[in-house]
C-alpha cells in the first residue's frame, strides 16, 4: 500500500517536471510563431506593409483589423538600425519584439511627441560603443537596446473608420528601417 503511494507520488512529481519543461521548451520548439510566419513575407531589414486581415486569411491570429501594419524584420549583426516613421493623423505606435515574440518596448506617437518617430535600435554591445559625447549632444536621439540580435519592429496606424484605411496605409508606406554601417 505504502509502496503504491510512493509510486504515485513519484509519478506526480515527474509529471510536474514534464509539464514545466514542455512549457519552457515551447518557445524554442514552436514552428508557427509570429517571426516564422513573417520570414517568407518580409526581407530582412526592410519595412514591409502587411496585408490586412480578412475572414479568409490573416498572417497572424488576433490581428486588429482597424489597423494598417508594417513590419521590419531586423538582424543587427551588420550594425545598428535606424527607424523613421511618419505618424498618421489618428494614432500610430511602434512595438519592438524579440525573435520569440516578447514585446520589449512600445511607444506611441504622443509619447514620441513629434511628427516623425525616429529611433536607433542597437544591441547592448553596439550601444556601449556609441561615443559618449554623441550620446549627450544628440539629446533628442532615442536609442533602444534590443535584447536579441534578431527581432521584429511592428508599426501600427489606426484607421478610425474604414474609409480612412488608405490614409493609414499611406502613412506607413513612408516608413523606413535601414542598417547603419559600423564606422
Amino acid at each position: 500500500m505504502i509502496r503504491a503511494l510512493l509510486w504515485i507520488l513519484g509519478a506526480i512529481l515527474l509529471g510536474g517536471i514534464v509539464h514545466l519543461s514542455t512549457v519552457l521548451a515551447m518557445p524554442q520548439a514552436a514552428r508557427q510563431d509570429a517571426y516564422s510566419r513573417l520570414v517568407p513575407l518580409t526581407p530582412v531589414n526592410t519595412m514591409v506593409p502587411l496585408a490586412l486581415p480578412t475572414a479568409a486569411s490573416a498572417i497572424m491570429p488576433f490581428m486588429d483589423p482597424a489597423f494598417a501594419e508594417a513590419v521590419c524584420r531586423y538582424d543587427l549583426s551588420g550594425g545598428s538600425l535606424k527607424l523613421t516613421a511618419p505618424v498618421s493623423q489618428a494614432y500610430t505606435s511602434v512595438t519592438f519584439y524579440t525573435r520569440k515574440s516578447i514585446a520589449y518596448y512600445a511607444i506611441n506617437d504622443r509619447a514620441a511627441g513629434r511628427r516623425t518617430i525616429e529611433l536607433d535600435l542597437m544591441t547592448p554591445e553596439q550601444h556601449a560603443q556609441v561615443p559618449e559625447e554623441e550620446d549627450v549632444t544628440a539629446a533628442d536621439r532615442l536609442i533602444i537596446e534590443s535584447p536579441s540580435t534578431m527581432g521584429l519592429i511592428v508599426l501600427r496606424a489606426l484607421a478610425p473608420e474604414p474609409g480612412l484605411m488608405p490614409m493609414a496605409r499611406r502613412a506607413l508606406a513612408a516608413a523606413k528601417c535601414a542598417i547603419q554601417p559600423i564606422q
Binding site: I8, A11, T22, V23, P53, A66, T95, A103, A106
Partner: protein, 192 residues
C-alpha cells in the same frame, strides 16, 4: 518484476499528467497577472519583458504578437457576464462605458483568432464609429441578423471571442479594480 511494472506505470502517469497539464494550460491561455473586470480579462504583463512562461508558450504556439505595454492593453471575453458561452447564434448586448483611452477597438474573432465572415464585412467597431446616447454610454447588438444601431454581426458561428483593445490608456499593470476601469457589460438576450 514489480519494480519494472511500477516504474513503467509511474512513467506513463507522469507523461500523461505532464503533457496533459501543458496542453490544458496552453489551450486555455492560462497566465499569471490577469486583470479581470466583469467578463473581460487582460494580461497587461504579456506585453512586456515581464511576460510569464505560460503566456510565452501560448503566444509561441498561436503565432500572435501581444499588444505592447506602451501601446495599449487588450481585454478578451469568452463568456457574457452571467458565464454563458458567446454563441454566434444568440443575440448579446454590450452596454455601458469604457475606461479612459485615446482610442479603442472592439473586434469579433472565432476562438482561433480568425475574423468571422459576414455579409457586411464588418468585424468590429472603433471608438470613433460607435453611436452613443446623450450621456456618452453606448449599446452594441452582437447578433447573427441585422439590428438597428450598432450591430456587430456574428456570422452565426458556434462560438466567438470578443477583444477590446484600449490604446494610449492608463489602464495596465497598476490597475486593480473595476472602479478604475469600468468595462462594458455583456448580456445574452435570447437565441434563435
Amino acid at each position: 518484476m514489480r519494480l519494472l511494472f511500477g516504474s513503467c506505470f509511474t512513467l506513463l502517469i507522469a507523461a500523461a499528467l505532464g503533457l496533459g497539464a501543458t496542453w490544458f494550460t496552453l489551450t486555455r491561455g492560462v497566465a499569471f497577472g490577469a486583470l479581470t473586470i466583469g467578463a473581460w480579462t487582460a494580461w497587461p504583463k504579456s506585453g512586456s519583458v515581464d511576460i510569464d512562461p505560460y503566456a510565452r508558450a501560448t503566444i509561441a504556439r498561436s503565432g500572435e504578437l501581444p499588444t505592447g505595454m506602451g501601446d495599449g492593453v487588450a481585454f478578451y471575453a469568452h463568456t457574457d457576464d452571467a458565464g454563458n458561452k458567446l454563441d454566434g447564434r444568440c443575440m448579446f448586448t454590450i452596454t455601458g462605458m469604457t475606461p479612459p483611452a485615446r482610442y479603442w477597438t472592439l473586434t469579433l474573432y472565432d476562438p482561433e483568432g480568425r475574423l468571422v465572415a459576414n455579409t457586411m464585412d464588418r468585424h468590429g467597431f472603433t471608438s470613433e464609429e460607435i453611436v452613443r446616447n446623450g450621456d456618452g454610454r453606448f449599446s452594441i447588438a452582437v447578433a447573427p441578423l441585422a439590428r438597428s444601431g450598432n450591430w456587430l454581426p456574428t456570422g452565426g458561428v458556434e462560438q466567438f471571442v470578443l477583444a477590446w483593445r484600449l490604446y494610449d490608456t492608463p489602464i495596465g499593470v497598476a490597475t486593480r479594480t473595476a472602479k478604475e476601469g469600468p468595462m462594458p457589460a455583456i448580456a445574452r438576450k435570447g437565441c434563435s
